[in-house]
């Protein structure tokens, strides 16, 4: 099929910040979202274990009731939360660290219709990445992970573990999860072709 018309991907490069970043875009709760507030943070590391200080992280998630704010989500409209869009963007800092404030997503039906475990879709753009890398953040303390079809499809247990955000010892009122992203090599995060 040589007549594929799609536009190819190219790297975001190092100079996107003024165009793609806005203060506060990493706080998905700013609109008064319903549900349990959580924070997710971590570092993006390259194949040498060095921090990537110039990455753009995007997340897309369902609301606390497990519904996406999108017309193709057929679940009942009364599950929509007008205070929650489900989209966020964050930059990595000099130590490769990003941070999101959000709410714990509810369970969403997967491709087969069966409920998936709560998860946050995450995309990474950076210099040196010619395409977006996609992965999912799952929550390590969530019992429904055992029945999640996407997690179950990953044969290598070590790769599966890279998708589990670990609950951190609490200091503030919010539960904090840690989710590091290793682009290449030892401990490499499992990425998805969506």
């Amino acid at each position: 099929m040589a007549n594929d018309p799609l536009t190819p991907s190219q790297t975001v490069g190092p100079f996107f910040h003024a165009a793609l970043h806005r203060a506060g875009w990493n706080d998905l709760t700013a609109g008064g979202a319903r549900g349990e507030r959580i924070a997710i943070e971590g570092r993006v590391l390259d194949g040498d274990g060095l921090p990537c200080d110039d990455a753009l992280i995007e997340i897309w998630q369902a609301n606390a009731a497990g519904k996406y704010a999108h017309p193709d989500d057929p679940q009942p409209a009364d599950r929509l939360d007008p205070g929650f869009t489900g989209f966020g963007r964050a930059l990595t800092d000099a130590s490769g660290r990003y941070h999101f404030d959000t709410v714990r997503p509810g369970r969403v039906p997967g491709a087969s219709g069966a409920l998936q475990a709560p998860h946050v879709n995450l995309g990474i753009f950076a210099r040196g990445l010619l395409r977006r890398l996609c992965t999912r953040i799952y929550f390590a303390d969530e019992s429904s992970n055992d029945s999640d079809p996407v997690l179950a499809s990953i044969a290598d247990p070590a790769a599966r573990r890279t998708l589990l955000a670990a609950r951190q010892p609490g200091t503030g009122p919010e539960v904090l999860y840690r989710f590091d992203i290793v682009l290449r090599g030892k401990g490499e995060t499992a990425f998805f072709d969506v």
């Binding site: 018309p5 799609l6 996107f16 793609l20 897309w60 369902a62 193709d72 010619l130």
Partner: protein
């Protein structure tokens, strides 16, 4: 159950770059070693941010400052389409570029070329109901790139598109026809298929040029469309 018809088709081989492309040195430390795992698309992939609240638009990049930006004025316009040729309306388009001298307004750009205080190089628009977008800007310059000795990037404008779903998200670069640097650019050549590469190059369109004012370039962008492949093929 997600109907198969609701899913988005994948690009064919050769359209998207391989993540590891040795001539682009930045990929060597960042491209994953393992291939991405294919997952079946479900609600998480066929939904995506809509930006229905809109937000600010900035389609004239030449007048973002107190005086007019320096350089060759250009109109850049085109349509955002899906793989079936259907327009994608009301969709966010974000662009960024360097100035006419090849310098970005960015802390990390150390290129010794003049900054234009009247040019931020940042634009934001929503496609109209026919999928059209339009920017008035300045033709970006080429700039040196330390990927190789005496390497230079061809003139380009970065484009960020969402389309209707998480699966249709795309960031790409638009190039200019006839640029001699294209033949030497590792990022452009990371796309292995020549026809696919050509789709990254805008077209000079005299119909878009404005007399005594600006040159016109057309750049259509095609995102993944709904998968029309019947079962069993």
């Amino acid at each position: 159950m997600i109907r198969p018809a609701a899913r988005y088709a994948k690009p064919v081989a050769g359209t998207d770059p391989a993540l590891l492309h040795a001539p682009y040195r930045g990929t060597l430390k960042r491209a994953p070693l393992r291939p991405a795992l294919r997952i079946e698309q479900g609600l998480s992939e066929i939904t995506g941010p809509g930006f229905s609240s809109g937000g600010p638009v900035a389609t004239d990049l030449t007048r973002a400052g107190t005086a007019e930006a320096l350089g060759q004025r250009i109109v850049v316009t085109g349509r955002l389409l899906d793989g079936g040729g259907r327009p994608i309306p009301h969709s966010l388009v974000e662009v960024w570029q360097c100035n006419a001298a090849g310098r970005y307004l960015h802390d990390k750009d150390r290129h010794d070329a003049p900054v234009d205080p009247n040019f931020t190089g940042v634009g934001r628009a929503f496609t109209d109901q026919d999928g059209q977008y339009r920017f008035l800007t300045i033709k970006p310059g080429a700039y040196p790139w330390n990927n190789s000795p005496n390497g230079w990037r061809p003139a380009h404008i970065h484009f960020s598109l969402f389309g209707p779903a998480w699966a249709t998200r795309l960031i790409t670069q638009m190039y200019f026809p006839g640029d001699p640097l294209l033949a030497l650019d590792p990022i452009f050549h990371s796309v292995s298929d020549e026809a696919a590469r050509r789709r990254l190059v805008s077209t000079y369109d005299p119909q878009l040029s404005q007399p005594e004012f600006a040159l016109g370039y057309r750049f259509d962008i095609v995102l993944r469309g709904r998968d029309s492949t019947p079962f069993g093929t």
